[in-house]
Subunit: 324 residues, 2 copies
């Protein structure tokens, strides 16, 4: 409006604050507001550029299945000398269960886990391989001297298009300074799987529960809490909105965007497809070193301003397409 | 003194407050005070009766080797969607390492761990088997519906005379309510082994370090902190002090004590043997359900008073023996 005096199309804003905890309320709201929210395409800014100076359109996201696993043994903490060796230790057992979820390289061992996985196409593997990605820079950025992951896949493939099993949190017994000789009564973990297209979080929950329960020994009670799940999402590469977005980004950033996938999950993308019948354009201006979900999270002001320009051009480009 | 007006022998008191954290100061002090502390026998009250109404003399203790294991991956917590699958997760790896320390039943897998283990004698196994121990009561006491442990050994053997590997604490990443999709930068565990006679804590530390380091993958830094270690201790069953103590306990409690071992560790017993050349009488009046090292720890007042009586008789009985 500031640049041209009038909007070339109608824009509807939908703002939610629960994206990180399963989008419970918005998923209740959407089915009640189909007419009000009717649209040609959804635009979300929650992704990153491929690299500094190299903007991207993200056409695929991983899904997620997030759990809390709680093991309870004796009714209270016990003396590890008096009782150790005869009483099943929930912390030892938690380690056994988590260890059994993956092989040494991170390939998931839950029976049936890979049944529905859509493999990467040859075209996608070629395009990923052609991106200017430096493993050495990546390692330096996150501060590690080596990487590991599922055998047979590149680092970008592992991050964007292969499922994962990551422990997000662990707790049991004594966590303070020095030693305490306690056999803990409880042990717990936050645990999540990133999913790829066609994997169903509900089926994953069932397989996981069966697998964990089959390992649960005498004297331990197992509780698996299913926090939230969302399938992966893909926007068809042939969508005319993707080409419109590419033009707008090129004007805003001075560089044509690359087409990438992203390892994170934005569950609402699937809901928009289901409830509004609309694909989503994921146009985000973050960078890999923004420390998202970590201390000292940041966002580049230069990209903030380039992103504003690209967004203004986007309404122009989208208005040139025939609306439904 | 209150009962008879004079003590029949000389009693020296040595009080320490660091027993739970490795007895560092007293182990420095003992070699400097050999003459001052010279004695025929040491008496320590830090053990339990076999059962309510069944006092015991504890002639064997397990040793201990206590560690903190710290794994560090990326320089800070990462987004588990953006990075998961390509970055070695320290919490997953910690679970792998802990799981590898034992088989499903708690038999320790660290190479060489059992090399020096003194097996239980046939006499000891018979005597343990003859004690009035109810597995059902034991399970009810600690609130579990089943037990597990090293194959081929009874519950008492597992508690008193076989080595163990117990996780005493675990921590990593997000431990709060709900979900946080973080790939943790660090994961840690408190970890201890109970040792049996002839096992050397220093050799165990070396074997453990080698074993853990052999499992450490690219991108993970391993730190193993050795908190404290102490070998197991045995007082010879033929010691005349044991018979003197049995008589005193019978007078104090109205019941002859049984001879048992105990799964806990009292490292100073070994130091007294080494520095003063004196065996230790372990005469304690606790009970298995005292919740030692746990919330709501207790001690029976009736046993407190019976213990006072037994202790008074003990000086009498000990004074009848020829002093060195």
């Amino acid at each position: 409006l500031q640049s041209t005096g009038k909007l070339p199309l109608q824009v509807k804003f939908l703002i939610e604050g629960e994206e990180e905890v399963g989008s419970e309320q918005i998923n209740k709201y959407l089915p009640t507001a189909r007419e009000k929210l009717k649209c040609d395409v959804v635009v979300i800014s929650d992704t990153s550029q491929f690299a500094p100076g190299q903007p991207a359109i993200t056409y695929g996201l991983r899904g997620i299945a997030y759990y809390e696993l709680r093991l309870t043994g004796p009714k209270q903490d016990l003396h590890s000398g008096t009782f150790g060796g005869a009483v099943t230790n929930p912390a030892n057992m938690l380690a056994k269960m988590i260890a059994a979820l993956t092989d040494g390289q991170g390939r998931i061992q839950v029976p049936g886990f890979y049944n529905d996985v859509t493999p990467l196409s040859d075209r996608e593997r070629r395009e990923f391989a052609g991106l200017p990605f430096s493993e050495a820079n990546f390692q330096q950025q996150i501060g590690v001297t080596g990487l590991s992951g599922e055998a047979g896949y590149s680092t970008l493939e592992r991050r964007w298009a292969r499922p994962t099993c990551d422990v997000n949190g662990l707790w049991s017994g004594y966590q303070g300074e020095g030693a305490k000789t306690v056999l803990p009564a409880k042990a717990g973990a936050k645990l999540s799987f990133r999913l790829v297209p066609k994997q169903d979080p509900h089926k994953i929950t069932q397989s996981l529960r069966t697998f964990l329960e089959s390992m649960c020994p005498p004297g331990i009670t197992l509780e698996l809490i299913d926090f939230h799940g969302a399938p992966a999402a893909i926007t068809p590469l042939e969508s005319p909105y993707i080409e419109a977005a590419a033009k707008a980004i090129e004007k805003g950033f001075g560089k044509r965007p690359v087409l990438i996938r992203e390892g994170g999950s934005i569950p609402i993308v699937t809901s928009f497809q289901q409830e509004l019948g609309a694909d989503t354009l994921l146009l985000g201006w973050g960078l890999d070193d923004d420390n998202t979900h970590s201390p000292n999270e940041k966002f580049s002001l230069a990209d903030f301003h380039r992103g504003i320009k690209a967004s203004a051009y986007l309404w122009d480009e989208l208005s040139k397409l025939t609306t439904k």
